[in-house]
């Protein structure tokens, strides 16, 4: 092996073009990147910054409809842009590996984990089948997967999301590559699981002196993982520096603005007077999907003009609670009160006015808006349906709503959802909810699919609307930064039960319930030593197990 710190990957003046509307458009404008052996570089930026495109180009690969138009990608002295397909194939898997964002979508559901794990080492004739399997088990052990001897013989759907992500990292290590490209490996995971994966990834990269490109939009995560950080914006490099230097003293305005994102914070509202009737009251609600009980005696109140944040890991019953409130899933026990009145459990039995009062905003704006309807029609329908508006009145009301969500009516009225960006679609979703003139809105992970800057804009908008219209929000999220910025009351859920609840200011101060504590301490912080410190605090090196034990 060459010198420990020699240059492994050198990208020079990389330009990539994408084909759309019958012409080639440049999407990456001349990026330079140098990565040494054993070094981890973080690539950060908003969506559309070209992070993933550059990550793939480091393997000499581009997505369909894209091409490398200029520049060189030198991997260990070999130019991948001019290499033949066969040469590049020989590198992939054996010397360069890739870990994708969604492990669930990247594993073949029809094969066992270990068979997929050993595939590339067998293909590249690195090891025999038995050796590879022994090695896989060893890697599973190092990545602290439970039952390393046995877990590989399960199918992808039989293990959890976090375990799958670690199994994928193990798979990437199977040929001991020189370079691994991590493309947002923890974005789809909740905080407690994220820690397990982060710790595992960092360990394994250290142990094998592997170089890595770590692509993410989460600054706190990249601060834990990377030696150096490169900030990208719309296919251009903004700046690059050592992690500590970058965090302490960013030189560009854009980087500063990224750092400032987490600053939005709203003061907690005073608690409502004791005699006020809650707007929505969830009383001892239990629910089940078939024989599986998913909610167990959940109770909490939501008052007018207040924001209640419901937090918990995936599978804790947050969204199911929302489905009970809206009437999509009738509870098996307990009841939902609206302004002191009992609501019929099924939405079909509710009156138009009861339906109007509670609206929803969805996580995926893509599936929440009918792709065949114009923005004007989407927002106009509730106005038409509940308010009976027609013609010019309707148009005027829609224009007003578009103004409220800060989209120019003349530009957006006739557009289709596909012609909007993610953040704009989410705004349209908000406008549709507002059009019903509700008193209560359920926000189901509304910002989790968005970049931080865009998410920030949405949160500010929601906050402003709450002030103007005295709305009550139920905010379902697993992102505690969001909770910190806008909640009045926090409800922590775990396995279908409410573990702890109270005003935000109290909830973020110790002492907490053990589980709340775990959730809170798992939120990554900007401090590059945070993970290391946390590891020591929680019981030396085995953070994955520690987190797991606390959970169960």
């Amino acid at each position: 092996m060459a010198d420990e710190k020699s240059v492994l990957l050198e990208i020079k003046n990389l330009k990539i073009e994408g084909y759309s509307d019958e012409q080639w458009i440049e999407i990456v404008h001349g990026i330079d990147l140098t990565l040494h052996r054993g070094e981890v570089m973080g690539l950060i930026g908003e969506s559309g910054a070209g992070k993933s495109t550059i990550g793939l180009a480091a393997m000499g690969f581009t997505r369909d409809g894209c091409r490398i138009s200029d520049g060189t990608v030198l991997f260990d002295g070999m130019d991948l842009t001019t290499a033949t397909r066969g040469e590049r194939r020989a590198l992939r898997g054996s010397r360069i590996a890739y870990v994708a964002q969604s492990a669930a979508a990247s594993f073949n559901p029809a094969h066992k984990l270990i068979d997929q794990h050993t595939e590339s080492s067998l293909l590249h004739k690195v090891n025999s089948k038995n050796e590879s399997e022994a090695d896989a088990i060893e890697l599973y052990r190092r990545l602290r997967l439970p039952n390393p001897e046995e877990i590989g013989f399960r199918y992808p759907h039989q293990v959890s999301g976090g375990q799958l992500q670690r199994a994928m990292t193990a798979m990437a290590m199977s040929c001991r590559p020189d370079l691994i490209i991590f493309d947002e490996p923890t974005t789809a995971l909740d905080v407690t699981t994220q820690i397990e994966v982060l710790a595992a990834v960092r360990d394994i990269v250290d142990q094998f002196n592997t170089a890595a490109l770590y692509i993410t939009h989460d600054l706190a995560v990249v601060a834990q993982m990377a030696d150096r950080i490169k900030v990208l914006l719309k296919g251009d490099e903004v700046e690059e520096a050592e992690t500590r230097k970058m965090l302490a003293d960013p030189s560009e305005d854009y980087t500063k603005s990224l750092w400032a994102v987490r600053s939005f914070q709203r003061d907690q509202k005073p608690p409502p007077p004791a005699n006020e009737t809650p707007l929505i009251s969830v009383k001892n609600v239990s629910a089940s999907y078939g024989p599986v009980k998913v909610l167990d005696g959940v109770s909490f109140d939501i008052y007018r003009g207040q924001t209640v944040a419901v937090v918990g890991e995936s599978g804790s019953g947050k969204s199911t609670t929302a489905r009970c409130i809206t009437g999509l899933l009738p509870p098996t026990q307990g009841e939902i009160l609206y302004d002191g009145q009992v609501m019929p459990p099924k939405y079909q039995d509710r009156t138009k006015d009861q339906l109007r009062q509670a609206q929803m905003i969805y996580q995926m704006a893509d599936t929440a808006l009918n792709p065949k309807k114009s923005i004007g029609e989407i927002i106009g329908r509730p106005l038409q349906f509940y308010g009976g508006l027609r013609g010019a009145d309707l148009k005027k009301a829609v224009d007003q709503l578009l103004d409220q969500i800060e989209l120019e009516p003349s530009l957006y009225y006739h557009r289709l959802p596909s012609e909007l960006s993610g953040g704009q679609k989410q705004r349209v979703g908000i406008a549709r909810a507002l059009a019903a003139e509700p008193s209560f809105i359920i926000c189901d992970e509304v910002t989790s699919a968005l970049d931080q800057l865009v998410a920030e804009g949405i949160l500010r908008l929601l906050d402003r609307l709450q002030k103007e219209l005295n709305l009550a929000y139920m905010f379902i999220t697993h992102d505690l930064a969001t909770v910190r910025s806008i909640a009045d009351v926090v409800v922590v859920m775990k396995e279908g039960k409410v573990v702890e609840m109270g005003p935000k200011d109290e909830m973020f101060q110790p002492p907490h319930h053990e589980y709340t504590d775990l959730l809170l301490s798992s939120v990554p912080e900007m401090d590059p030593d945070w993970l290391t410190n946390l590891l020591e605090e929680r019981g030396v090196d085995n953070i994955g197990d520690a987190a797991h034990q606390k959970k169960t």
Partner: protein, 353 residues
């Protein structure tokens, strides 16, 4: 004849070289294949084969040229939205559209275009083509050309009606089943399963024997037989749509099932349904022709292409092409419709070249 053969080969070789020189890969391969085929068939079959090849190529070229000019003309005439769509049409689709339009004109203006009446006896039976009867006479001495044009009206008209009914029934059923789910879905699904379990042609013959043959019965019976297929397609594609959040949002708004299926679901499944319409139309068309051929379809003296093939079938043993002409009319329309369907499928799948 010798000069023709010499000119033929020299011309082909020159064009081949030109294609090679200008590096037109497809053109070169095509021309070279043609050259090889001509060499072999010329050796085996003599000059007359070469003449036939020339005629075929000229016909194809004429069709291509016609389609091209039709497409370009349409781009100029149509409003911008439609023109943009038209620009994406390959030549085959333009050709298909052109043929369909020609058939529609023939069907609508049949009495004006046809020189004689539908059942009018003009000359002797099986009269050869002449200036009066362009394609000759049929077994009763009626003008084949006139009957061909009237046949477009009956065959195509009935096929369109039948397919439309099958689609309305099938799509509606499929959408209701998909959006209501539960026992409605189960009941509709089992009815459809039962209908599909019986072989179609036999079932059609059975039903037509029971209810008697009339245009109305024919239309309804075939529509009934084809609607289960459309039901299954509509239910499957709508099944992917009804789980979307925007449908949930509409349900929570308190919208009626009718609004859900017509305004929220239907616009999202029109592309696969439209493609299926074109395909299904051809099958219905062939089914009617088959039934007519068997004598249970459209009844004489009404002209339709299926029964015209049957009536003149005896002539085929004398080496006459007469019975093949209505068959060719069926084939041409089927091909044309499928060209257009391919194009639409291509658009709806969102594939790029």
């Amino acid at each position: 004849m010798l000069t023709f053969v010499i000119i033929y080969y020299v011309f082909l070789i020159v064009v081949c070289c030109a294609a090679a020189y200008y590096k037109h890969r497809t053109a070169l391969l095509l021309l070279f294949t043609l050259l090889c085929v001509s060499l072999i068939s010329g050796l085996l079959g003599g000059a007359s084969v070469l003449v036939n090849i020339t005629i075929c190529v000229a016909l194809l070229a004429a069709a291509a040229g016609l389609s091209y000019s039709f497409r370009e003309a349409m781009i100029q005439i149509l409003p911008p939205e439609a023109a943009k769509l038209m620009r994406t049409a390959p030549l085959t689709a333009a050709f298909g559209l052109l043929v369909i339009i020609a058939y529609i004109i023939a069907a609508v203006f049949a009495p004006v275009i046809a020189p004689f009446g539908e059942a009018e006896v003009v000359g002797s039976s099986f009269a050869p083509p002449d200036d009066v009867m362009l394609l000759g006479g049929d077994q009763l001495g009626r003008d084949l050309f006139s009957r061909l044009i009237y046949g477009a009206r009956n065959t195509v008209g009935i096929a369109v009606m039948t397919t439309a009914i099958a689609f309305v029934v099938g799509t509606l059923g499929g959408l209701v089943a998909a959006s209501m789910g539960g026992w409605v879905d189960q009941v509709l699904g089992r009815i459809v399963d039962t209908l599909m379990a019986i072989p179609q042609l036999i079932f059609a013959l059975l039903l037509l024997t029971i209810v008697g043959t009339s245009v109305l019965n024919l239309t309804l019976v075939i529509a009934l037989l084809y609607s289960p297929l459309i039901f299954r397609l509509a239910r499957a594609v709508a099944g992917n749509i009804v789980v979307m959040d925007y449908i949930e949002a509409a349900r929570l708004r308190g919208e009626s099932t009718w609004y859900l299926i017509t305004k929220e679901v239907l616009p999202n499944i029109t592309a696969p349904l439209a493609a299926e319409f074109g395909l299904r139309f051809c099958f219905v068309f062939l089914a009617i022709s088959a039934l007519s051929f068997l004598g249970l379809g459209i009844q004489p003296p009404t002209a339709d292409w299926g029964s015209m093939v049957r009536e003149n079938a005896t002539l085929i043993s004398f080496g006459e092409v007469t019975p093949l002409i209505p068959a060719a009319a069926i084939a041409l329309l089927t091909v044309a419709v499928n060209f257009v369907v391919d194009w639409m499928l291509h658009i709806s799948s969102g594939l790029k070249e």
